[in-house]
């Protein structure tokens, strides 16, 4: 019988050592993906390295006007942080679409990211926001943009012995706003058929000066659609700009047909959700500009 050893290291170094010692070992955040996968027999790691006992791994830190979110921070704790929720409402809302209250009391954004599901809800919002991961490994700490982590369904770019220590969100730009929307048949406890995150900046006149648009569930990984952002920059988000945004998003969508949606429906929804998310982001930007 195969068996799994449970470790709860107290330091980042110990965690790295444990992860390096067994190539099948897995970091454990909330366990809402990992334990489900172990129970179903899809995964049987030799060791589970619980990150929650590591000092500083749980909680949101303010670094000037930026935010550092510990890898073991549950999604509900993000909502409870008023500063973060005001600065990056799209990210916080995306993380709080995951599962149910019970799931979110455990689930983390780092786990959402490292599980590398193309449908992960917090990831497009993080990518749109320009979030960066701090990664610990055998050779110390390094940084990587969120979009560099997932490489294909279930696979990440993390090297053996590496894990995400925290996710950093930049300061909210003046005139900035973000939003995330997903399409699901049910209102909750569901997996995104398509997800769209938009983060943009408006100047005093309401003209868009910067925009990032990221999509979930339309390809093997999260997709950062630069053309879609470009379609908004220099515009006041009029009908033409929004149509160009939808078109760029659809062109960048290469979804599959599966039990959760067809190719044509997913493409159509990517366009609709990106447009709606852009309008919400703009209203947030306008409100605080």
């Amino acid at each position: 019988m195969s068996s799994t050893v449970y470790h709860a290291p107290g330091t980042v170094e110990d965690a790295v050592a444990l992860l390096s010692a067994d190539p099948t070992a897995r970091p454990l955040g909330g366990g809402t993906d990992l334990i489900v996968q172990m129970r179903s027999g899809r995964l049987s790691p030799g060791a589970v390295i619980d990150l929650k006992r590591i000092e500083g791994m749980s909680g949101v830190r303010r670094v000037g006007d930026a935010f550092a979110i510990g890898a073991a921070t549950p999604c509900t704790a993000l909502k409870a942080n008023a500063g973060l929720a005001a600065a990056w409402p799209g990210v916080v809302e995306a993380a709080n679409l995951i599962g149910s209250v019970q799931v979110r009391n455990r689930a983390t954004m780092a786990g959402n990211l490292c599980n590398a599901s193309p449908a992960a809800d917090s990831v497009p919002a993080l990518v749109a926001a320009g979030a960066v991961c701090v990664i610990a490994g055998p050779s110390g700490l390094r940084e990587a943009p969120v979009e560099a982590i997932p490489v294909s369904p279930g696979k990440t770019s993390l090297a053996p012995g590496e894990f995400v220590v925290e996710i950093r969100l930049p300061p909210r730009p003046a005139g900035g706003g973000d939003a995330y929307l997903r399409a699901t048949p049910r209102t909750e406890m569901d997996i995104a058929v398509v997800g769209a995150g938009v983060s943009l900046v408006l100047d005093g006149e309401g003209t868009c000066t910067a925009a990032r648009v990221a999509l979930g569930a339309v390809g093997p990984t999260v997709v950062l659609v630069e053309e879609a952002g470009a379609a908004l920059v220099g515009t006041k988000l009029g009908d033409d700009a929004l149509a160009a945004l939808s078109q760029a998003v659809q062109a960048a969508s290469h979804p599959i047909d599966d039990k959760r949606g067809t190719v044509s429906y997913r493409k159509a929804m990517a366009g609709v959700l990106a447009r709606r998310a852009a309008l919400i982001a703009a209203s947030r930007a306008g409100a605080k500009a």
Partner: protein
Amino acid sequence: MNAPEQMKQFRHIGTRPIRPDGVDKVTGKALYSPDFKAPGMLWGAILRSPHPHARILSIDTKKAEALPGVKAVATGKDLPTLESLVMHVGEGASDIVDISHNCLALGKALYEGHAVAAVAATSPEIAREALGLIAVEYEELPFVLGLEEALAEGAPVLHDTVFTKGVDPKPDKPSNAAMRVEMGKGDVEGALASAAATVSGRYTLEPVHQGYIEPHACVASWNGDGQAQIWTSSQGHFAVRSLTASVLAIPQADIRVTPLEIGGGFGGKTTIYLEPVAMVLSKKSGRPVRLAMTREEVFRATGPAPGAVIDVRLGADADGALVAADVQFLYHSGAFTANDAGAGVSSAIGHYRIANTRVVGTEVLCNRPAAKAYRAPGAPQVNFAVESAMDELAGKLGIDPLDLRLKNAAAEGDPQTSGLPWGRIGYVECLEAAKAHPHWSAPLGAHQGRGVAGGYWGNYGGPSTVNVSVAEDGTITVATGSPDIGGSRASMAIMAAEVLDVPYEQVRAVVADTASIGVSMVTGGSRTTFATGMATVQAAEEVKRLLCERAARMWGVPADQVEWRSGAVACLAGEAQGQTLSAAAIAGRSFHSGGPIAAVAALSAQGWLPGFGVHICDTEVDPETGHVRIVRYTAVQDVGTAIHPDYVEGQIQGGAAQGIGWALNEAYIYGENGKLDNAGFLDYRMPVASDLPMIEAVMVEVPNPAHPYGVKGVGEVPIVPPLAAVANAIHAATGARLKDLPMAPDRVYAALHPQG
């Protein structure tokens, strides 16, 4: 709600006391099937076919048997060879040979997930590991999942022993058409040809699951002397006993089945899957054996409700009077002959007066798990088609959809589809209550639409046994053989307290095991409050008579000189005139006045009546995403008499919620390989709480004259109208008529954007 026809003053009927099993259930103390453990118990596991259709060439269990910790291995060959015998245990009948072969395949695996072998071991991990050591040699066979595909020339035939039942002469070739049921009268084609308005359409539905929270589980312990015990949750432990005994060919009284609390059944727990297998493993190992399904096994191997293809034609004259109905449908039987088609035929169009009718239903075998009863089995599918067509007809005629239904609604004395006259039914009353309800005339917002649909279910009566006994302190125990799914302990206590005119808390109701009470049919067919309730009333009346008799003896007066008054016996003559004796006073002396006081009622309840419901649904459809939100929902139902209104409302709300799920998102999704692709609640999308508005239950009370308190069954009716009510509301909101369920966002989107 509405006043009963004969205004009776009740003390308890119609009140809402706390259920006796409530505290155990909300504190987590109640013992459900997966909670039960016996000393020395082994853990079983089942090996299931990975193929949708395959011949089993050989099963080699030697390696599994050799694994340390494995105590027994079983295959289909360990079950006795049986003669074909159709057994009626609940909602529908099944051949015992089919039930046996469904518990453990013999010769062929007929669907992905079909049980082919089982093990019992000292831990669940060892049991699972042992499954991997069983070598099954399969010869894969062509498979068929679709209804019309299964009937097509050249389709793989599942059973060479099945010749379509219900056709004369008997066909000369076996086929997947297991059974054909037809009813009708008059000249349908002629009437349709001369009708002022006609509608026709083809409607399709995918199979759906009952979705009970508690997976199937049992513990069986079979001793060397032949006596056995089974602990399980089911809708009927007597059915578990008779089916298990029949599959194993042993006497029923050798099995004692103890019912555990049930975490939902909805028809799906009126049969057996695990018990005979656990029994065989127990016999081989000499130890109690537990078998429990995972959620995935529940989806792959237990009964869904059948999917369907339904062709409907309706015709009416210019005033909206229906002149003809033609309904022809195919239902999935799955791997073994099921029997929802019969109920489908009698549930299709009987709520309307129509002179010319033809209703034909066919059961179709295919490589899916065997279809099983689901709340009003066979009715929602055909009702979806007929009530959608009624909506279309109303539109064509320019008549309000409720008025069209009122114009044609069947009432007492009108013929059913079978030709027999309806009894005291309440369809007209429900339609009138719906029309008068503020919901029907409330304003609608943007992208919103309102739909309505009516439907019915026949309900049932049948055998129940109840023992009412009086403790020495005068408190009362009501023991029934009916598992409590929807609050029946409370309802039985209410009815007994009503008869005896004592406080509700003085009466406690329990569910007794098969050795402790007489035979009772399953809790299904919306029969328990009606039939077991009738037995409860009868036994309580007898207890009342015994108490009077004892009191008369204690006073030394003739029995006709005493009377039951306000929960005690009053003396009408002699020295004691004016005195009273309470149940406590009588029971306290009962050992010296003739022995304990108790009465059993064992009856087969007759005079049940069908229930009718009318549902109003408002939807809001997002034109850009196809997402449907249920904005408001009102379910009107004739409930006879609501014994405990909370539980009646709960049944109505639960049924409506399940129907909405069926309408919007629930469906079995199969891959090209014939394997189920969504065997879990993540992708088998039942509604969650936030998907539903508060469902308003409106109880119309048209009492059943055949029941002492007017009871009609209420549990199944409410799942019948929602499918069409939702579809009609989507039509009203968008102009698109969706004829294929589920009406998931992508389907609705495609209907709204035909160009893509």
